[in-house]
């Protein structure tokens, strides 16, 4: 029990610290790296709750895709981050008010949901893991939705290609097949050079 508590507080505190670092660090690349750290710690918390599927999705989707995308954007776009930071003091009151409102909402929601025992969780049978249980409904009851969502992703991909890909002519590309099938006889000419004459 005590080990669990220690691990929980470790994950939670590292997560809070790295989340704070995300918004306070000067270097945007460091911010994104801290964000990734926060995601990993959140995944750890999910694991402790027994939600291994959500934990893995968090790592794969958020760390693997979203955060890396952020990193690309931060590194590729020329954004003047020092200018974005101007006026922090000016906007701080609004930020604090919004934060307090959000916190109050969360607390109220927490009370409303858990306070009077209105929310009852249904125990999942022990022999089925989360991932299995999700898969069982996803691939049977919701197969239609699941496959159609796949089609939507395909359309998104086609759309991105249609709207951005340009075939430029005159670009020299590496052709591995050509390189491998090149033979010395075809490309090399061997000259017997006489002494003191040059080629």
């Amino acid at each position: 029990m005590i080990v669990q508590a220690v691990v929980f507080y470790l994950f939670a505190s590292v997560m809070l610290l790295s989340a704070t670092a995300v918004i306070t660090l000067k270097n945007p690349v460091h911010s994104v790296l801290c964000l990734i750290l926060a995601f990993f710690n959140a995944a750890g918390l999910f694991l402790m709750l027994g939600a291994e599927f959500v934990a893995m999705i968090l790592v794969i989707a958020y760390v693997g895709a979203v955060a890396v995308l952020f990193l690309f954007v931060v590194m590729m776009l020329d954004i003047d981050f020092s200018r974005l930071r101007e006026g922090v003091v000016k906007y701080a009151p609004i930020g604090i008010v919004l934060g307090v409102v959000l916190l109050a909402e969360l607390l109220l929601l927490f009370r409303a949901v858990f306070g009077e025992g209105r929310f009852e969780t249904q125990a999942v049978t022990d022999d089925v893991t989360n991932t299995q249980a999700l898969g069982q409904v996803l691939y049977t009851d919701y197969i239609y939705i699941f496959q159609s969502a796949g089609l939507i992703l395909l359309v998104a991909m086609i759309g991105a290609i249609v709207l951005t890909l340009t075939h430029r002519t005159g670009v020299k590309r590496q052709n591995v097949g050509d390189q491998v099938s090149r033979r010395p006889e075809d490309v090399l000419e061997i000259h017997k050079v006489e002494k003191r004459t040059g080629v």
């Binding site: 009851d141 239609y144 939705i145 159609s148 395909l154 086609i158 759309g159 290609i161 249609v162 709207l163």
Partner: protein
């Protein structure tokens, strides 16, 4: 649900066929490249035609499939056939246009096929999840199509505007769906229908809030005022073939979906949503008519024309009876075919290989191209609702339903705005027949475009021979939108009551 077999999937066969063949065509397109586009258009046309024919093979009574998320019946069949016709026409119109405008890329027909698939799924949706997914599949393909002329600023603007506002409306719909789910605990149409009578007090209010959000999102998709602001820019900026597609198919699909949503699970709440539909209808008719007066560009004018026509069709929906829904679908089908003809004529407007945009470019058309001018004039008369052309019957039956339901003010308002809108249609005729003639257009070569124009003309003129047949078909179709008397294969309705017990 008891296992998926090929046979148990038979209501979905047309869609399955379409997905598989579209994916195959996509691969062929990738391998063969853009030179293959013309042939790809023909193949896509074939796929749509075969899917439409497959629709006839299924029984006409209502069947649910895929865990009650998909429904097939007369209404879905009627709408899908109409959509298939619209897509077929758009494919014919697009093929030539893309070559003329040097936009020949094989992804275009593929995206159109995905949009069509989305529309088919939309009209068959009987569950709010499949409703949303289908809508997204269709919309995402359309966003890309709107921006297809990517080198042009207006086309990119059209795509971006459509995308951002479309994402906003999708957000509204999702928020509405989450409210509906929160207050009823179910998402299936028949489940919602069984829960609705038991809703009262706060839960009813919350549920209605959700419904209003979904309605706003749908109003955006059919471009009803005040959710119309994207329409003129998108219609103007998108390539003309895409605009033609936008004006014909997606609206029809969105109407079918709207009718299924309002007539199905919300049948008993008609007195609650009727007001909203009447408001949308009145605003669309008025704004479409008055804002259209100031337009000088033909595609912008057609955008406002589509807004006002959506207003007329919404009168039918506002009646909240099977006859009203039938009148709305009937109206949309007639509007769709007339629009197809109009866009074929708009595509004829080319001079020295360049497409013309202004209404004034049509001036003196009766002297340079008399046949074209007379054809265009007939279509303009038809869409402004002058008897004995097809457009008149559309308006007539919509107003008839409104009068039968005692909504006299709405009917009178509709007639008045249609008089205002008639001004801008007639102005085009005036420009063509009485203004100074300009240089002749390029000689039209496209057989497909000509045949679309001729077919639309024939439809408009000959419709009077049996106007009631299409209406009868539409009436039979809309009889089955109600879900209250259905017994779906598996019912999850029980969940709702469990939730009710635990939450109180």
């Amino acid at each position: 649900m008891t296992g998926l077999t090929f046979v148990s999937l038979y209501p979905v066969w047309p869609e399955l066929f379409m997905v598989i063949s579209t994916l195959m065509l996509l691969v062929i397109g990738v391998i063969k490249g853009n030179e293959f586009t013309s042939l790809l258009f023909k193949l896509c046309f074939g796929v749509v035609a075969i899917s439409a024919i497959m629709m006839f093979g299924v029984p006409t009574e209502k069947i649910y499939a895929l865990n009650d998320m998909f429904v097939l019946g007369r209404f879905a069949m009627f709408s899908k056939l109409a959509i298939a016709v619209a897509v077929g026409i758009s494919l014919i119109l697009s093929s030539r246009y893309l070559r003329e405008e040097a936009l020949n890329r094989f992804e275009y027909p593929i995206l159109m096929m995905f949009a069509t698939l989305g529309m088919f799924m939309m009209v068959s949706a009987s569950h709010l999840l499949s409703f949303y997914i289908a809508l997204e599949l269709q919309s995402l393909s359309l966003y890309v199509l709107a921006a297809f002329r990517r080198r042009s600023v207006t086309s990119s603007e059209a795509g971006l505007k459509y995308f951002i506002l479309g994402a906003l409306s999708s957000g509204l719909i999702l928020f509405g769906i989450s409210l509906i789910y929160g207050f009823t605990g179910v998402l299936g149409y028949s489940d919602i229908a069984s829960v609705v009578p038991g809703l009262e007090g706060d839960r009813l209010t919350g549920f209605l809030f959700g419904v209003m959000f979904v309605l706003s999102g749908l109003a955006f998709k059919v471009s009803a005022v005040p959710f119309h602001m994207w329409t003129p820019d998108v219609y103007e900026g998108a390539p003309t073939s895409v605009t033609a597609f936008f004006a014909m198919a997606p609206k029809l699909a969105a109407f079918a979906m709207l009718i299924r949503f309002l007539g199905g699970p919300l049948e008993n709440l008609a007195d609650q949503w009727q007001v909203v539909i009447i408001f949308l209808s009145v605003m669309s008719m008025a704004w479409g008519a008055f804002a259209g007066l100031a337009q000088t560009r033909i595609k912008r004018l057609l955008a406002y024309s589509s807004i006002s026509n959506v207003g007329f069709a919404l009168i039918g929906v506002a009646a909240a009876t099977a006859e009203g829904y039938a009148a709305a679908m009937f109206y949309m089908v007639i509007y769709m075919i007339t629009t197809a003809g109009i866009f074929a004529f708009v595509m004829f407007m080319r001079r020295d290989g360049r497409a013309l945009k202004e209404i004034s470019d049509l001036s003196g058309l009766s002297k340079t191209h008399p046949l074209m001018a007379y054809g265009f004039a007939v279509l303009m008369f038809s869409i402004s609702g002058i008897p004995p052309l097809a457009g008149f019957f559309g308006k007539f039956f919509v107003f008839e339903v409104a009068v039968a339901e005692g909504m006299y003010a709405l009917a009178v308002f509709g007639v008045l705005t249609s008089v205002v809108a008639a001004f801008y249609y007639l102005r085009i005729i005036k420009v063509m027949f009485f203004d100074e003639e300009e240089d002749a257009f390029d000689q039209p070569h496209s057989i497909g475009r000509k045949s679309v124009a001729v077919l639309a003309l024939a439809f408009s003129v000959l419709f009077i021979l049996s106007p009631l047949k299409l209406l009868e078909t539409a009436r039979q179709a809309t009889q089955v939108v109600y879900v209250s008397q259905d017994t779906p294969s598996t019912s999850d309705g029980g969940n709702a009551y469990e939730l009710e017990n635990t939450s109180r």
